[in-house]
Symmetry: C2
Subunit: 159 residues, 2 copies
Amino acid sequence: MRASAVVKNLKDKGFRITPIRKQIIEILSEDRGPLTSLDILTIIHKTGKKVNESTHDHAIGVSSCIRFARCNKTTVYRQIAFLLEQEILEEINLGEGKNRYDLVENKAHHHHLTCNNCGVIKDLPLEDNDFLQSIEKNTNFRIQKHSLELFGLCLGCQK
Amino acid sequence: MRASAVVKNLKDKGFRITPIRKQIIEILSEDRGPLTSLDILTIIHKTGKKVNESTHDHAIGVSSCIRFARCNKTTVYRQIAFLLEQEILEEINLGEGKNRYDLVENKAHHHHLTCNNCGVIKDLPLEDNDFLQSIEKNTNFRIQKHSLELFGLCLGCQK
DNA sequence: TGATCATATGCAACTTAGTTGCATTTGTCA
DNA sequence: TGACAAATGCAACTAAGTTGCATATGATCA
Protein backbone atom coordinates (compact mmCIF):
# COMPACT_ATOMS: atom_id res chain seq x y z
CA MET A 1 0.00 0.00 0.00
CA ARG A 2 1.16 3.50 -0.79
CA ALA A 3 0.04 4.90 2.58
CA SER A 4 3.02 3.51 4.47
CA ALA A 5 5.43 5.12 2.02
CA VAL A 6 3.76 8.50 2.50
CA VAL A 7 3.88 8.10 6.27
CA LYS A 8 7.54 7.14 6.22
CA ASN A 9 8.32 10.12 4.01
CA LEU A 10 6.59 12.50 6.42
CA LYS A 11 8.35 10.95 9.40
CA ASP A 12 11.71 11.33 7.67
CA LYS A 13 10.96 15.00 7.10
CA GLY A 14 10.44 15.38 10.84
CA PHE A 15 6.64 15.66 10.92
CA ARG A 16 4.64 13.99 13.66
CA ILE A 17 2.66 10.91 12.84
CA THR A 18 -0.59 11.05 14.79
CA PRO A 19 -3.27 8.35 14.56
CA ILE A 20 -5.63 10.71 12.71
CA ARG A 21 -3.00 11.84 10.21
CA LYS A 22 -2.14 8.22 9.52
CA GLN A 23 -5.76 7.20 9.18
CA ILE A 24 -6.56 10.04 6.73
CA ILE A 25 -3.60 9.06 4.55
CA GLU A 26 -4.76 5.45 4.62
CA ILE A 27 -8.33 6.36 3.71
CA LEU A 28 -7.16 8.49 0.79
CA SER A 29 -4.88 5.76 -0.52
CA GLU A 30 -7.67 3.20 -0.66
CA ASP A 31 -8.68 4.43 -4.12
CA ARG A 32 -12.25 5.33 -3.26
CA GLY A 33 -12.11 8.26 -5.71
CA PRO A 34 -11.75 11.92 -4.74
CA LEU A 35 -13.27 12.43 -1.28
CA THR A 36 -14.82 15.44 0.43
CA SER A 37 -13.85 16.45 3.95
CA LEU A 38 -17.19 15.08 5.13
CA ASP A 39 -16.54 11.76 3.35
CA ILE A 40 -13.26 11.49 5.24
CA LEU A 41 -14.84 12.39 8.57
CA THR A 42 -17.65 9.87 8.07
CA ILE A 43 -15.23 7.08 7.20
CA ILE A 44 -13.19 7.83 10.32
CA HIS A 45 -16.30 7.67 12.47
CA LYS A 46 -17.49 4.43 10.91
CA THR A 47 -14.21 2.57 10.79
CA GLY A 48 -12.65 3.86 13.99
CA LYS A 49 -12.22 1.68 17.04
CA LYS A 50 -15.25 1.33 19.26
CA VAL A 51 -14.95 2.73 22.76
CA ASN A 52 -17.02 1.51 25.69
CA GLU A 53 -17.91 4.28 28.01
CA SER A 54 -19.50 3.71 31.36
CA THR A 55 -22.17 6.18 32.23
CA HIS A 56 -24.22 6.47 35.37
CA ASP A 57 -27.41 7.91 34.02
CA HIS A 58 -29.81 5.97 36.20
CA ALA A 59 -32.65 8.28 35.22
CA ILE A 60 -32.93 6.69 31.77
CA GLY A 61 -31.44 3.36 32.75
CA VAL A 62 -28.40 3.59 30.49
CA SER A 63 -25.41 1.86 32.02
CA SER A 64 -23.02 2.02 29.06
CA CYS A 65 -22.96 3.24 25.49
CA ILE A 66 -20.85 2.57 22.45
CA ARG A 67 -19.19 5.35 20.53
CA PHE A 68 -17.17 5.39 17.37
CA ALA A 69 -13.76 6.88 16.88
CA ARG A 70 -13.79 10.59 17.53
CA CYS A 71 -12.46 13.16 15.17
CA ASN A 72 -13.45 16.74 14.74
CA LYS A 73 -14.13 18.31 11.35
CA THR A 74 -11.64 21.06 12.21
CA THR A 75 -8.95 18.41 12.50
CA VAL A 76 -9.88 16.97 9.11
CA TYR A 77 -9.69 20.41 7.50
CA ARG A 78 -6.33 21.04 9.15
CA GLN A 79 -4.94 17.70 8.04
CA ILE A 80 -6.13 18.40 4.51
CA ALA A 81 -4.38 21.78 4.59
CA PHE A 82 -1.21 20.13 5.85
CA LEU A 83 -1.30 17.39 3.20
CA LEU A 84 -1.96 19.96 0.46
CA GLU A 85 1.06 21.97 1.64
CA GLN A 86 3.20 18.84 1.53
CA GLU A 87 1.89 18.25 -2.00
CA ILE A 88 0.60 14.84 -0.97
CA LEU A 89 -2.96 15.80 -1.84
CA GLU A 90 -4.52 17.68 -4.69
CA GLU A 91 -7.76 19.63 -4.54
CA ILE A 92 -10.46 18.81 -7.07
CA ASN A 93 -13.45 20.99 -7.76
CA LEU A 94 -16.38 19.48 -9.61
CA GLY A 95 -18.69 22.45 -9.18
CA GLU A 96 -20.58 20.84 -6.30
CA GLY A 97 -20.03 23.68 -3.87
CA LYS A 98 -17.39 21.73 -1.99
CA ASN A 99 -13.89 20.45 -2.61
CA ARG A 100 -12.67 16.93 -3.08
CA TYR A 101 -9.20 15.58 -2.39
CA ASP A 102 -7.12 12.88 -3.95
CA LEU A 103 -3.59 11.63 -3.41
CA VAL A 104 -1.21 13.18 -5.91
CA GLU A 105 -0.29 10.34 -8.22
CA ASN A 106 3.26 9.69 -9.20
CA LYS A 107 1.90 8.88 -12.62
CA ALA A 108 1.02 11.65 -15.08
CA HIS A 109 -1.33 14.46 -14.17
CA HIS A 110 -4.89 13.36 -14.85
CA HIS A 111 -8.43 14.66 -15.06
CA HIS A 112 -11.82 13.28 -14.16
CA LEU A 113 -14.92 11.98 -15.89
CA THR A 114 -17.99 12.28 -13.68
CA CYS A 115 -21.18 10.40 -14.51
CA ASN A 116 -24.16 12.75 -14.25
CA ASN A 117 -26.39 9.81 -13.43
CA CYS A 118 -24.65 7.47 -10.98
CA GLY A 119 -21.97 9.88 -9.80
CA VAL A 120 -19.03 7.58 -10.46
CA ILE A 121 -15.76 9.47 -10.95
CA LYS A 122 -13.20 7.91 -13.30
CA ASP A 123 -9.60 9.00 -13.76
CA LEU A 124 -8.67 10.23 -17.22
CA PRO A 125 -4.95 10.43 -17.92
CA LEU A 126 -4.23 12.88 -20.76
CA GLU A 127 -1.13 14.08 -22.51
CA ASP A 128 -1.86 17.78 -22.60
CA ASN A 129 1.52 19.41 -22.71
CA ASP A 130 1.39 20.39 -26.38
CA PHE A 131 -2.10 21.69 -25.87
CA LEU A 132 -1.04 23.95 -23.00
CA GLN A 133 2.07 25.16 -24.78
CA SER A 134 0.07 26.29 -27.76
CA ILE A 135 -2.29 28.22 -25.49
CA GLU A 136 0.68 29.91 -23.82
CA LYS A 137 1.99 30.99 -27.21
CA ASN A 138 -1.36 32.29 -28.37
CA THR A 139 -2.32 34.17 -25.22
CA ASN A 140 0.94 35.32 -23.61
CA PHE A 141 -0.26 33.88 -20.34
CA ARG A 142 2.16 31.71 -18.36
CA ILE A 143 -0.01 28.80 -17.33
CA GLN A 144 0.65 27.51 -13.81
CA LYS A 145 -2.35 25.30 -13.17
CA HIS A 146 -5.34 24.00 -15.03
CA SER A 147 -8.45 22.04 -14.32
CA LEU A 148 -10.36 20.03 -16.89
CA GLU A 149 -13.47 18.28 -15.68
CA LEU A 150 -15.79 16.26 -17.88
CA PHE A 151 -19.37 15.33 -17.11
CA GLY A 152 -21.60 12.90 -18.95
CA LEU A 153 -22.93 9.37 -18.81
CA CYS A 154 -20.86 6.29 -18.13
CA LEU A 155 -21.46 3.22 -20.27
CA GLY A 156 -23.85 1.64 -17.81
CA CYS A 157 -25.96 4.80 -17.48
CA GLN A 158 -26.40 5.36 -21.23
CA LYS A 159 -29.11 2.69 -21.53
CA MET B 1 -26.33 46.37 -26.65
CA ARG B 2 -27.25 42.70 -26.37
CA ALA B 3 -29.33 43.21 -23.23
CA SER B 4 -32.31 44.61 -25.11
CA ALA B 5 -32.38 41.60 -27.44
CA VAL B 6 -32.40 39.25 -24.46
CA VAL B 7 -35.20 41.22 -22.81
CA LYS B 8 -37.26 41.25 -25.99
CA ASN B 9 -36.77 37.51 -26.37
CA LEU B 10 -38.01 36.88 -22.82
CA LYS B 11 -41.00 39.16 -23.31
CA ASP B 12 -41.91 37.32 -26.54
CA LYS B 13 -41.81 34.06 -24.62
CA GLY B 14 -44.34 35.50 -22.18
CA PHE B 15 -42.07 36.11 -19.21
CA ARG B 16 -42.46 39.22 -17.08
CA ILE B 17 -39.91 41.97 -17.39
CA THR B 18 -39.34 43.39 -13.94
CA PRO B 19 -36.88 46.22 -13.24
CA ILE B 20 -34.56 43.87 -11.37
CA ARG B 21 -34.61 41.20 -14.08
CA LYS B 22 -33.82 43.86 -16.66
CA GLN B 23 -31.06 45.37 -14.58
CA ILE B 24 -29.37 42.02 -13.97
CA ILE B 25 -29.41 41.26 -17.70
CA GLU B 26 -27.92 44.69 -18.40
CA ILE B 27 -25.20 44.26 -15.78
CA LEU B 28 -24.24 40.88 -17.19
CA SER B 29 -24.10 42.17 -20.74
CA GLU B 30 -21.66 44.95 -19.87
CA ASP B 31 -18.72 42.57 -20.31
CA ARG B 32 -17.31 42.92 -16.82
CA GLY B 33 -16.24 39.27 -16.87
CA PRO B 34 -17.98 36.44 -15.05
CA LEU B 35 -19.70 37.85 -11.94
CA THR B 36 -20.65 36.31 -8.61
CA SER B 37 -24.11 36.79 -7.11
CA LEU B 38 -22.57 39.21 -4.64
CA ASP B 39 -20.93 41.18 -7.48
CA ILE B 40 -24.35 41.55 -9.09
CA LEU B 41 -26.03 42.57 -5.85
CA THR B 42 -23.33 45.14 -5.12
CA ILE B 43 -23.60 46.66 -8.60
CA ILE B 44 -27.37 46.94 -8.21
CA HIS B 45 -26.99 48.70 -4.88
CA LYS B 46 -24.36 51.09 -6.22
CA THR B 47 -25.96 51.96 -9.54
CA GLY B 48 -29.61 51.87 -8.52
CA LYS B 49 -31.71 55.03 -8.41
CA LYS B 50 -31.47 57.03 -5.26
CA VAL B 51 -34.64 57.27 -3.19
CA ASN B 52 -35.38 60.13 -0.82
CA GLU B 53 -37.24 59.00 2.20
CA SER B 54 -38.71 61.37 4.70
CA THR B 55 -38.28 60.30 8.25
CA HIS B 56 -39.46 61.92 11.42
CA ASP B 57 -36.79 60.84 13.81
CA HIS B 58 -36.49 64.08 15.75
CA ALA B 59 -34.51 62.35 18.48
CA ILE B 60 -31.38 62.20 16.31
CA GLY B 61 -32.29 65.17 14.13
CA VAL B 62 -32.50 63.26 10.86
CA SER B 63 -35.11 64.70 8.54
CA SER B 64 -34.36 62.65 5.43
CA CYS B 65 -31.93 60.02 4.29
CA ILE B 66 -30.70 58.75 0.97
CA ARG B 67 -30.86 55.08 0.11
CA PHE B 68 -29.70 53.14 -2.89
CA ALA B 69 -31.76 50.77 -4.98
CA ARG B 70 -33.00 47.85 -2.96
CA CYS B 71 -32.60 44.28 -3.98
CA ASN B 72 -32.43 41.20 -1.88
CA LYS B 73 -29.82 38.47 -2.36
CA THR B 74 -32.64 35.92 -2.59
CA THR B 75 -33.96 37.78 -5.62
CA VAL B 76 -30.55 37.75 -7.26
CA TYR B 77 -30.23 33.99 -6.69
CA ARG B 78 -33.72 33.44 -8.08
CA GLN B 79 -33.05 35.56 -11.14
CA ILE B 80 -29.82 33.65 -11.73
CA ALA B 81 -31.73 30.36 -11.49
CA PHE B 82 -34.31 31.68 -13.96
CA LEU B 83 -31.69 32.91 -16.44
CA LEU B 84 -29.79 29.60 -16.18
CA GLU B 85 -33.03 27.73 -16.96
CA GLN B 86 -33.60 29.94 -19.99
CA GLU B 87 -30.02 29.17 -21.04
CA ILE B 88 -29.23 32.87 -21.05
CA LEU B 89 -26.53 32.43 -18.42
CA GLU B 90 -23.84 29.88 -17.85
CA GLU B 91 -22.34 28.94 -14.51
CA ILE B 92 -18.58 29.11 -14.12
CA ASN B 93 -16.66 27.57 -11.29
CA LEU B 94 -13.08 28.70 -10.70
CA GLY B 95 -12.63 26.81 -7.45
CA GLU B 96 -13.21 29.90 -5.32
CA GLY B 97 -15.99 28.38 -3.24
CA LYS B 98 -18.62 30.33 -5.13
CA ASN B 99 -20.09 30.41 -8.61
CA ARG B 100 -19.74 33.01 -11.32
CA TYR B 101 -22.14 33.72 -14.14
CA ASP B 102 -21.69 34.93 -17.67
CA LEU B 103 -24.06 35.51 -20.58
CA VAL B 104 -24.03 32.54 -22.93
CA GLU B 105 -22.26 33.77 -26.00
CA ASN B 106 -23.63 33.13 -29.43
CA LYS B 107 -20.04 32.60 -30.48
CA ALA B 108 -18.31 29.31 -29.83
CA HIS B 109 -18.12 27.79 -26.38
CA HIS B 110 -15.13 29.22 -24.58
CA HIS B 111 -13.02 28.76 -21.48
CA HIS B 112 -11.22 31.10 -19.12
CA LEU B 113 -7.71 32.14 -18.28
CA THR B 114 -7.47 33.51 -14.76
CA CYS B 115 -4.41 35.47 -13.63
CA ASN B 116 -3.26 34.20 -10.24
CA ASN B 117 -1.80 37.60 -9.48
CA CYS B 118 -4.19 40.34 -10.58
CA GLY B 119 -7.30 38.20 -10.90
CA VAL B 120 -8.15 39.26 -14.45
CA ILE B 121 -10.28 36.69 -16.28
CA LYS B 122 -9.81 36.43 -20.05
CA ASP B 123 -11.99 34.51 -22.47
CA LEU B 124 -10.29 31.71 -24.35
CA PRO B 125 -12.16 30.38 -27.38
CA LEU B 126 -11.07 26.85 -28.25
CA GLU B 127 -11.98 24.34 -30.89
CA ASP B 128 -12.25 21.24 -28.75
CA ASN B 129 -14.66 19.01 -30.62
CA ASP B 130 -12.08 16.56 -31.92
CA PHE B 131 -10.54 16.44 -28.50
CA LEU B 132 -13.82 15.51 -26.84
CA GLN B 133 -14.75 12.99 -29.51
CA SER B 134 -11.51 11.11 -29.04
CA ILE B 135 -12.11 10.98 -25.28
CA GLU B 136 -15.61 9.57 -25.88
CA LYS B 137 -14.14 6.86 -28.07
CA ASN B 138 -11.45 5.95 -25.58
CA THR B 139 -13.59 5.93 -22.46
CA ASN B 140 -17.11 4.91 -23.55
CA PHE B 141 -18.47 7.88 -21.66
CA ARG B 142 -20.98 10.11 -23.43
CA ILE B 143 -19.74 13.59 -22.60
CA GLN B 144 -22.49 16.12 -21.91
CA LYS B 145 -20.60 18.98 -20.34
CA HIS B 146 -17.04 19.95 -19.65
CA SER B 147 -15.18 22.66 -17.85
CA LEU B 148 -11.63 23.70 -18.60
CA GLU B 149 -10.16 26.42 -16.45
CA LEU B 150 -6.62 27.71 -16.73
CA PHE B 151 -4.72 29.64 -14.10
CA GLY B 152 -1.41 31.43 -14.42
CA LEU B 153 0.12 34.83 -14.94
CA CYS B 154 -1.04 37.34 -17.51
CA LEU B 155 1.62 39.20 -19.51
CA GLY B 156 1.62 42.19 -17.17
CA CYS B 157 2.04 40.07 -14.05
CA GLN B 158 4.97 38.00 -15.37
CA LYS B 159 7.50 40.76 -14.67
C1' DT C 1 -58.19 52.99 -16.94
C1' DG C 2 -58.75 49.84 -13.07
C1' DA C 3 -59.43 44.99 -11.11
C1' DT C 4 -57.39 40.52 -11.15
C1' DC C 5 -54.08 37.00 -10.50
C1' DA C 6 -50.01 34.58 -11.31
C1' DT C 7 -45.39 35.74 -10.78
C1' DA C 8 -41.73 38.29 -8.49
C1' DT C 9 -39.94 40.20 -4.32
C1' DG C 10 -38.40 40.90 0.63
C1' DC C 11 -37.42 39.12 4.81
C1' DA C 12 -36.15 35.99 8.32
C1' DA C 13 -34.61 31.79 9.43
C1' DC C 14 -32.11 28.01 7.93
C1' DT C 15 -28.30 24.75 5.84
C1' DT C 16 -23.75 23.53 4.60
C1' DA C 17 -18.73 24.20 3.84
C1' DG C 18 -15.14 25.99 5.79
C1' DT C 19 -12.39 29.07 9.39
C1' DT C 20 -10.63 30.95 13.83
C1' DG C 21 -9.29 31.42 18.77
C1' DC C 22 -8.23 29.23 22.64
C1' DA C 23 -7.68 25.70 26.06
C1' DT C 24 -6.16 20.93 26.38
C1' DT C 25 -3.75 16.79 24.86
C1' DT C 26 -0.09 14.16 22.82
C1' DG C 27 4.09 12.59 19.85
C1' DT C 28 8.80 12.98 19.89
C1' DC C 29 13.25 13.49 21.59
C1' DA C 30 16.73 14.42 25.05
C1' DT D 1 10.28 9.93 32.20
C1' DG D 2 9.69 15.32 31.45
C1' DA D 3 9.36 19.12 28.44
C1' DC D 4 7.60 21.44 24.65
C1' DA D 5 6.06 22.21 20.07
C1' DA D 6 2.60 20.46 17.33
C1' DA D 7 -1.99 18.41 17.04
C1' DT D 8 -6.64 18.19 18.66
C1' DG D 9 -11.46 19.40 20.29
C1' DC D 10 -14.80 22.57 20.92
C1' DA D 11 -17.56 26.53 20.34
C1' DA D 12 -18.45 30.34 17.88
C1' DC D 13 -18.07 32.38 13.62
C1' DT D 14 -18.26 33.61 8.29
C1' DA D 15 -19.96 33.19 3.62
C1' DA D 16 -22.66 31.10 -0.05
C1' DG D 17 -26.75 29.56 -1.02
C1' DT D 18 -31.84 27.86 0.08
C1' DT D 19 -36.67 27.80 1.81
C1' DG D 20 -41.29 29.30 3.48
C1' DC D 21 -44.34 32.64 3.68
C1' DA D 22 -46.45 37.14 3.45
C1' DT D 23 -46.60 41.17 0.42
C1' DA D 24 -46.07 43.72 -3.95
C1' DT D 25 -46.41 44.21 -8.88
C1' DG D 26 -46.42 43.42 -14.25
C1' DA D 27 -49.45 41.97 -17.77
C1' DT D 28 -53.94 41.11 -19.28
C1' DC D 29 -58.75 41.81 -19.93
C1' DA D 30 -63.19 43.89 -19.08
